[in-house]
Assembly symmetry: C2
């Protein structure tokens, strides 16, 4: 497990001299004002300090198929650590092979988003973690059954006590979510070519990628896609200028309207975070677009009202490839055995 260091978001400090010679670069100056590098470690979420015990427990729970009614679906099923933190199918397959309504967002760097889900209906990762476990089309479980499952396994009882030493009832659905959040906060992907460029390494991006970065800023992409995650911070109508076709923006999914019940929120979605976007096709909440360059062209059209030229699309796409960071190094957790009182799979 990585050491926990203090994080000041947006104030990442480099302890040693940079190994490259940075030259004056107006593009970097513009970029640095809009974007922040992915920190290597996170030690707090909402002011709550994460402990090693919580992270270790959360890792077990993230991989724990017994959080699902069937005992075969875990968080990792749809947020696969090996495939960019997502499942890379149009919409996730859950209990009984039911297909969910939206594409699974990556868990990597999700701790830096202002809210979770495509419609932002969970304010943080702990709130998010409780959703799919209970959703009938996903893990199809109940908080009571989850608590009964975890309390039936002595090793989990001990791990919850160690992770939540002051809790009156350590094994709880709430604490499960807190532990999962603690682990997920470790799933960051620092050191992307873009972040190395931001830090002063002129050669980290090639000429086409720099051209793409300039276009990304100057065309207006960065108006919504900014910050650490180049997105994930605020809500915007999909189809701001022109509505995409119905296969990409299905009429039945009104996005944030379902959360706020406000008519102006119809077809409004959280700006997608773009970190590691090259690893997590297919794209958009409907998961119907497989090629990144096609997604870029659609965005140009629907959000900016511009037909981007092929060369521009290629440059922006090349830049987006530069957002793939160092993927998390996770050792597979060993999960404790069930006991006679553990609820059986259904």
């Amino acid at each position: 497990m990585r050491p926990i260091q203090m994080l000041v978001l947006g104030g990442l400090t480099f302890a040693a001299a940079l190994p490259w010679e940075a030259t004056a670069d107006p593009l970097r100056d513009k970029a640095t004002a809009l974007f922040k590098p992915v920190p290597a470690t996170v030690s707090q979420t909402q002011g709550r300090t994460l402990t090693e015990a919580q992270i270790a427990l959360g890792k077990q729970l993230f991989f724990e198929p017994r959080l699902s009614r069937s005992h075969i679906i875990s968080c990792n099923t749809c947020h696969n650590i090996g495939t960019g933190g997502a499942d890379n199918v149009p919409t996730s397959v859950g209990h009984g092979w039911q297909k969910g309504p939206r594409n699974s967002p990556t868990v990597f760097n999700a701790v830096f988003n202002a809210a979770q889900f495509w419609d932002g209906r969970a304010e943080d990762l702990q709130a998010q973690a409780k959703g799919p476990i209970q959703a009938s089309v996903e893990m199809n479980n109940t908080p009571e059954r989850v608590e009964q499952t975890l309390a039936s396994i002595p090793e989990y009882v001990a791990a919850f006590s160690a992770a939540f030493p002051k809790a009156e009832k350590p094994v709880s659905f709430d604490n499960m979510a807190l532990a999962i959040e603690a682990f997920e906060a470790t799933l960051t992907t620092p050191d992307s070519p873009f972040d190395r460029y931001l830090a002063g390494d002129d050669k980290a991006l090639d000429a086409q990628q720099k051209e793409g970065l300039a276009l990304f800023i100057d065309s207006g992409c960065s108006a919504c896609h900014n910050g650490v995650n180049l997105g994930g911070q605020a809500y915007f109508p999909f189809g701001l200028v022109r509505k995409p076709t119905e296969d990409i923006l299905p009429i039945g999914d009104k996005g944030r309207f379902a959360v706020t019940k406000t008519s102006s929120d119809a077809y409004v979605f959280r700006a997608a975070p773009l970190r590691n976007i090259a690893l997590t096709a297919p794209y958009f909440h409907s998961g119907q677009v497989w090629e990144l360059k096609e997604a870029v062209a659609i965005m140009g059209n629907s959000q900016l009202g511009r037909e981007l030229k092929d060369k521009e699309v290629a440059a922006i796409t090349a830049f987006l490839h530069g957002l793939s960071g160092r993927q998390p190094d996770v050792s597979y957790p060993i999960l404790p055995a069930s006991t006679a009182s553990t609820p059986r799979p259904e």
Copy 2:
């Protein structure tokens, strides 16, 4: 990754002086004649030397959901590294939420079995690996589609070339199976209490476990359950003396008869390997028995024709708990991204 050392099966050598004082022990002498400890490392299968490049590729493939038609089922789905190398449900759930006919056997130490599957229809792990990928109720894929998938991803093309440098066509369904076998051969669980006892540590098993070991030998369990894996070496009728009830031995599954078409092979199965058996409930090919002590009692009745006393069942069960070894330490592999020519999930 663990260093590769030479293995002489059954001839495990301890390089250093034993840290305990072994005393004369007739029970250990009997046990040593029947059982062998699990080796920590395996460097060859069928005389084929396993390379680091094959093992690394095999690990990626073991976790690769794109080997399935749906892109959501990998080897690890049913042979979960975190849960004893099995899925711990009665019978596995596969493509379209179809239920397979038999309980998923553990992949741990499977390299020491004489043959794979409950009916031994695959002579080794590479032959086994090809089965579930093609089975319509499991991963529901075809060799052609698998090859097309792997060949569409440049990182896999490079990894196959490194793993099979002399092959005319490195990316092949056969080489995929060889690489998976190479990785699976690393999934051994040495250092169980029983193995430490075999090696001379008197205190590794407690009094009840030693009583259970003596009963396991003297009652006749070890006639079928012997060798490194305490099973996995030969075939025996389930219900040798008395047929179990039909829920446990369903009429429709005739076991090895389906392989040999020989009437004497009706309801014949490979003796189940018992390593880590306490971690892989439910039991038997039908997966209908959840408690290990119940499985022990059923075996006594069906195979030995004996009503084991509660105390005997408890002792044998305690001994079987001593077969849980050190679980594999596996870092989660990062899988390369799909390309435009990668077949899409169906």
